[in-house]
Symmetry: C2
Subunit: 379 residues, 2 copies
C-alpha cells in the first residue's frame, strides 16, 4: 500500500466513516436541496445546514450566514479578493502565498490595485511589524496564509489580526493548511475573511470549501443564479449565504465533510496536532542526521504544522519524488507547490523542494520508511 505523505495537497486516507457517507448518502438523500421541497430535498438541505453549523463551531463564527460553501478554497479566495477590492485599493500580502492568492492579486495589480509583498524571515515567518510598516491610508486588505504550504511555518495570525483591527483594515486568512490541525477563533484573531479547503486537514472529499465573512464589508456577487428561494427577484438575492451560493451545492461532498468534522471533533484538534508534531519532530531529527539533506523552515515546533520541505544533494526535487514513487511507493510532492515567490526567495527555483506533508493517519512506520528510502537513494 502506498505510504502517503502528500496530505498538504489533499488528505488521504479519509476517516473510514467518510467513505461510508460517500457510499450511501446519495442513495438516501440524493435530491437537490432546496427550501420547501419534498422529504429527500429537505434531508439534503439539512445535511448542508448541519455542516454549516459545524463549520461555525470549528472557527468560532457567530452566525450561520457567515459560512458560504464554495467549490474549493481557490473559489473562496477569488470570491473574497475580487468581491472586496475596488480600484485604488492597496493590499498587503506575502511571499509565502499560494497562487490562489497571488494570481488574483497580481492580475488586479496590473490595472486596479497596488500590492505590497512582505518577505518572510529565513525561517519562513512573516513579521507582524513588517505588516504594520506597510500599511497605508488606502490599504484595504491584508491577506496572509495561516501556514506556508511549503515550509509548514505557522504565521502569527493573531498578532497580524490585532494590527489589522487596530488600523481598521480587512484581514483575509488562507486557512487551507491550518484548519483541522490548529485551533482557529475568527473573532479572537480578528479575521474578517477566511478561506477553507474541505479536503485537506479537514479530511472531507474534494469539491468542498468555504468562505467565512465577518460581515464587516459586503462582498460583490460572484456566481449568480438560482438559490432555491426568492425566484422572482431579477437580481441575486442580497441575503447571505444565498447571495454567494448560487447553483446546486456539492451536497455529497458536504455530507462527507460533515462526517469528517465529526471525526475531528471526536478525536480533537489538540490530539491531531500533537500527533502530527510528534511525527514531524521524529522526521526532522532523523533527516538532520543525513548530511546530504538540507531542511527548510523553522525548527521551532510551536510555529509549525506537519509539512517539511527538503532538498537532496545532487537531485532535483522531481527526481527524488519520482524515485520515491516508483521504487518505494511513497507519495510526496516535488516542484514549486504553486508558491513561486517563496521558492524564489529560498533560491530553490527551478529545482524545487521535496515536500513531505503529514496527515492524521500517518505513523512512525511511514516516517521510517521514508527515511529508509532517502538513505537508499543516497547510497
Amino acid at each position: 500500500m502506498t505510504i502517503y505523505l502528500d496530505n498538504a495537497a489533499t488528505s488521504h486516507p479519509k476517516p473510514p466513516k467518510v467513505y461510508e457517507t460517500l457510499a450511501s448518502c446519495l442513495q438516501v438523500a440524493g435530491a437537490n436541496p432546496g427550501r420547501a421541497g419534498h422529504k429527500m430535498a429537505r434531508l439534503a438541505q439539512q445535511i448542508i445546514e448541519n455542516t454549516r453549523f459545524k463549520l461555525t463551531k470549528l472557527i468560532s463564527a457567530s452566525s450561520l450566514e457567515q459560512i458560504i460553501f464554495t467549490f474549493n478554497a481557490t473559489d473562496a479566495l477569488n470570491m473574497a479578493i475580487k468581491g472586496i477590492l475596488e480600484p485604488g485599493d492597496h493590499v498587503i500580502t506575502s511571499y509565502l502565498e499560494h497562487n490562489s492568492v497571488l494570481r488574483p492579486l497580481q492580475n488586479l495589480a496590473q490595472k486596479q490595485i497596488t500590492l505590497t509583498l512582505i518577505k518572510p524571515s529565513a525561517e519562513g515567518l512573516i513579521s507582524p511589524k513588517d505588516i504594520e510598516k506597510a500599511i497605508r491610508p488606502e490599504t484595504k486588505l491584508i491577506a496572509i496564509t495561516g501556514a506556508s504550504n511549503v515550509l509548514g511555518t505557522l504565521q502569527p495570525i493573531e498578532e497580524i489580526g490585532d494590527i489589522a483591527h487596530q488600523n481598521n483594515k480587512l484581514f483575509l486568512v488562507d486557512a487551507s493548511q491550518v484548519l483541522g490541525v490548529i485551533p482557529i477563533d475568527v473573532e479572537q484573531m480578528h479575521i474578517d475573511l477566511l478561506a477553507g479547503s474541505g479536503h485537506k486537514a479537514l479530511m472531507g472529499p474534494p469539491g468542498t470549501g468555504f468562505l467565512y465573512t465577518s460581515l464587516k464589508n459586503p462582498i460583490k456577487n460572484w456566481r449568480e443564479g438560482g438559490t432555491g428561494g426568492d425566484s422572482l427577484s431579477p437580481l441575486q438575492p442580497t441575503n447571505l449565504p444565498h447571495q454567494l451560493e448560487a447553483g446546486t451545492h456539492n451536497f455529497l461532498g458536504i455530507a462527507g465533510l460533515e462526517t469528517a468534522l465529526d471525526f475531528i471533533e471526536e478525536k480533537t484538534i489538540k490530539k491531531i496536532k500533537e500527533q502530527e508534531l510528534f511525527l514531524l519532530e521524529n522526521l526532522i531529527a532523523k533527516l538532520k542526521e543525513i548530511p546530504e539533506v538540507t531542511l527548510y523552515g523553522t525548527f521551532d515546533l510551536t510555529k509549525r504544522v506537519g509539512v517539511q520541505s527538503l532538498s537532496l544533494k545532487g537531485y532535483s526535487s522531481d527526481e527524488v519524488a519520482t524515485i520515491l514513487d516508483e521504487h518505494f511507493d511513497i507519495a510526496v510532492r516535488g516542484g514549486l507547490h504553486c508558491a513561486p515567490l517563496l521558492h524564489q526567495a529560498l533560491g530553490t527555483v527551478p529545482n524545487g523542494l521535496v515536500r513531505v506533508s503529514l496527515g492524521a493517519f500517518n505513523t512512525l512506520e511511514d516516517i521510517e520508511a521514508f527515511i529508509f528510502a532517502i538513505k537508499e537513494i543516497i547510497s
Copy 2:
C-alpha cells in the same frame, strides 16, 4: 420507497455503478490530481482526462481543451457570460431562461450591456425568426436554453445556431435539461459556448458541471490560482483548460460522472429519450382526462423532454407538492423553478406550477402512482 419525479432538479437514482464509484474511488485514487505527481495523483488525473474525453464525444467537440470542468452549470454560465461580455455589448436571451442565465445578464444590464428578452409562443417555443429580428450590429451573444426547465419544451437550437453563425454572433446554450436525453453536436449546431450540469440527465454526482467553448472568443479569467503546472507564472496560464480550471477539482464527482457517461453510452441516448417520451406520452394522456388539471407546454412530443408542468384547480403548486410528498411519498417540485420570467408570461405567479420531471429510471408504475395520487387529492 419514494417515487422520485424531480429529475430536472437532480437525477435520482444514479446508475448503480455510479454509487460503486463513489464508494471506492477516493480510496484508490484519493490523491490530488496534478501533472508529474506520484501514482495516486496520476490515477486521479487520468480519471479527469478520461471524463473530459468522454464529454468531447458526448457533444462532438473536436478537442480536449474545449471542455472546462466547473462547480456546476451555474458556475459555467457565469464564467461564460462574464468572461465574454464587454461594456456596450448587446445580448439576446429569452423568457424561458433559468436564473443562472437571467441574473448574471440582468446584473450586467444595469450598467454595461443591453439585453433583449424574446418571448416564447403560448406552447413554450422560441421562434428563430424572433431571434433574427432582434440582432443588432452590437449584438455579441445569443443565449438560449436547450429546453425549458419548466415546460420541457425543446428549443430549435440548430436553427438558432444557424442564425447566430450567419450573423457572426456567439451562441451560448444552457444544456442543463438536454444533455443525456437529446443528441448534441456543437459543430453542427454552431454552438460556441455550452454549459452542462453533471448531475441532471447525465446522472453524475452533484458538484460537477462543465463549459464547452468553440475557442472562437477568449474567455476572461474566472477562478485564478494553482493549476498543477506552470507554477512560476505570476498570472493565470493562458492555455486551456488550465486558464479556467484553478484549484482542486471535484475528482470524486468527476469519477462518478465518468461512470455515468459509460452507462449512457451503453444504454444510448436514443433509448433513454424514447423511454422518457413513452412515459411522458402516457402521463400527458392520463392527465388530459382529469378536468381539474391544466397542462402547460406543447403536446408535440418531437419538441419535448421528459418534463411536464401542471396546475390543479383550487390548489397552489406548493400545496400539491406537499400533499404528494407527505401522503403519497411522491417527490415533485412546486413553485417557480428559478424561471421567473416564464412563470410571469404564463400567468402562474405566485402560485407556480407542479413540475413532474422524469429520469432514466422511472417506470409506468411511477406514472400510475402519480395519477392515482392526483385523483385522490381531487376527490
